[in-house]
Each structure stands twice: as C-alpha cells, then as structure tokens.
C-alpha cells in the first residue's frame, strides 16, 4: 500500500488562513500576520449547517415576497424575483431570463444543497470522492456572489425610476430576505473547511486496510 502524503496536522503544523505561513499550531497566533492558527476551522460543520438552515428558511420568503413595487400613473405593480424573470421570458429576452433564473433561483438552491452534501460527507454520512466534492466547493465559492445581481437591479431601479406621479419604483421586504439568503450562503461557504473531506477519506482508507501489510515502497 502506498503511504499517503504528509499532512501538516500530523506534525501539529497549521497553514495560516490569512497569509499562508506554516507555523506550529501551539504558537496560537501566526508569527507573520498575527492571525489565529487552527488545525481545522473551529466548529466548521456546525457553523456551516447553522448558516445553511437560516438561508433555507429565508429562501421561501425571498422567492414569494415581492422585491419591489413599480407604480406607473397610479397603476401599482408588485413583482417577485420569479415574476421579473417571467417578464423577460415573455418579451422573448431569453438569455437575460436564463441569467436571472440561474443567478437568483438556481445558484442559492444549488449552494444550499451542495454545502449540505459537503457537510454530510465531512462527517462520514455519505462517501463520495473528495476530488468531486472539492470541485463542488470551489464552484459554490466562485458562483455565490453572482446571486447578488437582483439586489443590485432593485437598487438601480429605485435610484433611476423616480418620476413622481409618472413612474416610481420602491423596494419591498422580499429584497431584504433575498439579500439575506445570498449573504448567509456566502458565510456558510466561508465557514466550511474542505480539509475535513480529506480527513474523512484518510480515516476510511485507514480502517479499510486494518490488517495492513508492511509498507513496501
């Protein structure tokens, strides 16, 4: 059996989160930048799950409450994120409808599901390959920010469409719920420690080969 590559935590070393310096975790703080040193992010899975639950709870009001209201000559029309997308679709602006659907509806949902899956894998409840999981993690961190686009659209419309009785746009509480979902899923991704996935893999390989033969490299 091939010996696995050495891990920093085997030797009580930690890579600093902020500056990347390798230092003994017993020092407590990074000698280079002063950041706190941890072998693993503390309570990573618990914190990630907590943020995910909060995000999932807000996901419902974020999608059923209107995010803004437009009044045109006294005609008041509230619209949710989904209605905004449908409107583009009806006007045959398909690419933009798809962008909104992916950024606002799919990405938050994918992030919540993917991070829950990662938490399950990190605690050994499911056993997929860590390479795949690593890629999922990287993907969720990269894409999460784009969900913010609808919040910016609301802010832009509110700033631009201020024509007194002719036409105005005002924000509605749905926008707050939606912004909450985006920020909470970002915090969830930041709290998760991908190294736990590899720890779990090493643990499984160690137990798989308990009647271990002596290493012949």
């Amino acid at each position: 059996m091939r010996r696995r590559l050495p891990k920093a935590s085997d030797e009580g070393l930690a890579g600093c989160h902020t500056c990347g310096k390798v230092a003994a975790v017993s020092e407590g703080r990074c000698p280079r930048c002063g950041g706190k040193l941890h072998l693993r992010k503390p309570a990573s899975v618990q914190r990630t799950v907590a943020f995910l639950l909060a995000a999932a709870a807000l996901y419902v009001p974020a999608n059923i409450l209107p995010v803004m209201v437009m009044s045109e000559w006294g005609d008041v029309m509230e619209s949710t994120i989904l209605e905004g997308m449908v409107e583009f679709w009806k006007r045959e602006a398909y690419p933009i409808a798809v962008v909104i659907f992916v950024a606002s509806i799919m990405i938050p949902l994918i992030k919540i599901v993917a991070l829950s899956w990662l938490c399950a894998a990190a605690t050994g409840r499911v056993k997929p390959s860590p390479q795949v999981l690593g890629r999922i993690y990287w993907f969720t961190e990269l894409l999460g920010r784009w969900s913010m686009v609808d919040i910016f659209v609301v802010s832009i419309l509110v700033a631009l469409v201020q024509f007194g009785t002719v036409m105005t746009v005002e924000p509605r509480p749905g926008a707050l719920a939606f912004g909450g979902v985006v920020v909470l899923t970002m915090f969830a991704a930041m709290s998760f420690d991908p190294r736990l996935l590899w720890d779990q893999l090493d643990l499984e390989q160690a137990t798989d080969t308990i009647p271990a033969l002596p290493d012949n490299e």
């Binding site: 590559l5 050495p6 891990k7 920093a8 935590s9 085997d10 030797e11 070393l13 930690a14 890579g15 989160h17 902020t18 500056c19 990347g20 390798v22 280079r32 930048c33 002063g34 950041g35 905004g84 583009f88 602006a93 933009i96 962008v99 909104i100 950024a103 860590p130 390479q131 690593g134 920010r145 784009w146 913010m148 686009v149 919040i151 910016f152 659209v153 609301v154 802010s155 832009i156 419309l157 509110v158 700033a159 631009l160 469409v161 201020q162 024509f163 007194g164 002719v166 036409m167 005002e170 924000p171 926008a175 707050l176 912004g179 920020v183 970002m186 991908p194 190294r195 590899w198 720890d199």
Partner: protein
C-alpha cells in the same frame, strides 16, 4: 527549505521557488499552492493606482441617464445605495454601498499602500494589518456583479423610457478590469514573503 500547506487538503509540501509565470500545484488535490507572477509588485501598484483614478471618474459622472415625462434621473453608485436608505431599506442600502463603494475603495487603497513601499524593499507602517484587511474585504468587492445588474436594468427599462449610457458606465467597466488585474497581479504568499523580508 520553506514549507507550504495546501489550504484545501492540508498536504504539507516543500516550497522551492518556481520559474516566473508558473505556479506550484498541490500533489494530492491539484489546487494552486503559490505562483511566481512576472513583475507582480509593479503590476499591482499600477493597476491599483489606475483603479483609484477610475473610481474618481465613476463617482463624478452618471452611469445611466433616464428620461421620462419631461424629467431626467441619473444613476450613480452613491445614488444606488442612498436611494434605498432614503426609501427605508437601511440594511440593503448599506449592503449595496459596502459591496460597490467601500470594498473596492478599501482594496485599491490597501494594495497601493502595501505594494508601493515594497517596490523599494520597505514595508509601510501597519502594512500587515492593511494586508489582512485586504484579504477580508476581497469576497465583498462585487463590482462585476453590479455591472451585470446595470445591464439587466437597462434591458428592463429599455421599453419604458429613454435611456442613455453615461461616462460613468465606461469608467466602471474599466475599473472592473483594473481591479481584477490588480488582485490577480500578486500572489498572497509572495506578498507576505516580501512583507516578512522587508520587516516593519
């Protein structure tokens, strides 16, 4: 020999210097460990400076100008955040301002403050604190997302009213490119190695 830890899988590696323009990758998971970017300090300094200059233009000129019913409104970064606050959406208003005004400004100023003295082999006072703040702020800098928001809004309002691009829009697009180039210009490990060598 200096050592480096993969932040993704915790594998410990020796860290030899790599040729300019190349990156060292983790043996186990393949994530980039550190890079040697050509002329990194000069590039980061120059792009941060350009980004700051562009921010001046972005805040001085409107993005979009909209005309309806004989009236005219203008969109700027400040108004996008401020109108929300005025309408009573304090939290979102401040959030938008944080992601589009405060975070980019802090990053550009911070990179300039840290990298310029390093060009001469010195560390500015408090450079370590500033460098930590840069990495904390980075995920909240969302100018590229705001740009997409401008385009979506444009399509949304296009049939309702008369819209016109302003100078601010083009400056903002250029700002996005400069910020991305400044951030990509320097490797985190390299920056901190240089700070460590320069001392404080």
């Amino acid at each position: 020999m200096q050592r480096v830890v993969c932040h993704f899988c915790d594998t410990l590696h020796e860290a030899p210097a790599v040729p300019e323009g190349t990156a060292a990758r983790c043996l186990r998971c393949g994530v980039v460990l550190y890079q040697n970017r050509p002329a990194s300090l000069v590039r980061t300094t120059a792009f941060s400076l350009a980004a700051l200059a562009l921010m001046g233009i972005v805040h001085g000129f409107p993005f979009l100008i909209m005309r309806a019913g004989g009236m005219q409104t203008e969109l700027s970064l400040y108004r996008a955040a401020h109108e929300l606050v005025k309408e009573g959406s304090l939290v979102i208003g401040w959030g938008v301002g944080l992601c589009t005004i405060v975070a980019p400004l802090m990053m550009a100023c911070g990179m300039l403050y840290v990298c310029t003295p390093l060009l001469f082999g010195r560390a500015a006072p408090g450079a370590r604190v500033v460098a930590r703040w840069i990495s904390l702020t980075e995920p909240w800098n969302m100018i590229e997302v705001f740009l997409l928001g401008v385009l979506v809004s444009l399509l949304k309002l296009g049939q309702l009213a008369d819209l016109e691009f302003g100078t601010g829009f083009w400056a903002f697009a250029a700002l996005m490119v400069c910020m991305a180039a400044a951030v990509a210009g320097i490797d985190r490990n390299e920056l901190w190695d240089r700070l460590e060598v320069a001392g404080e």
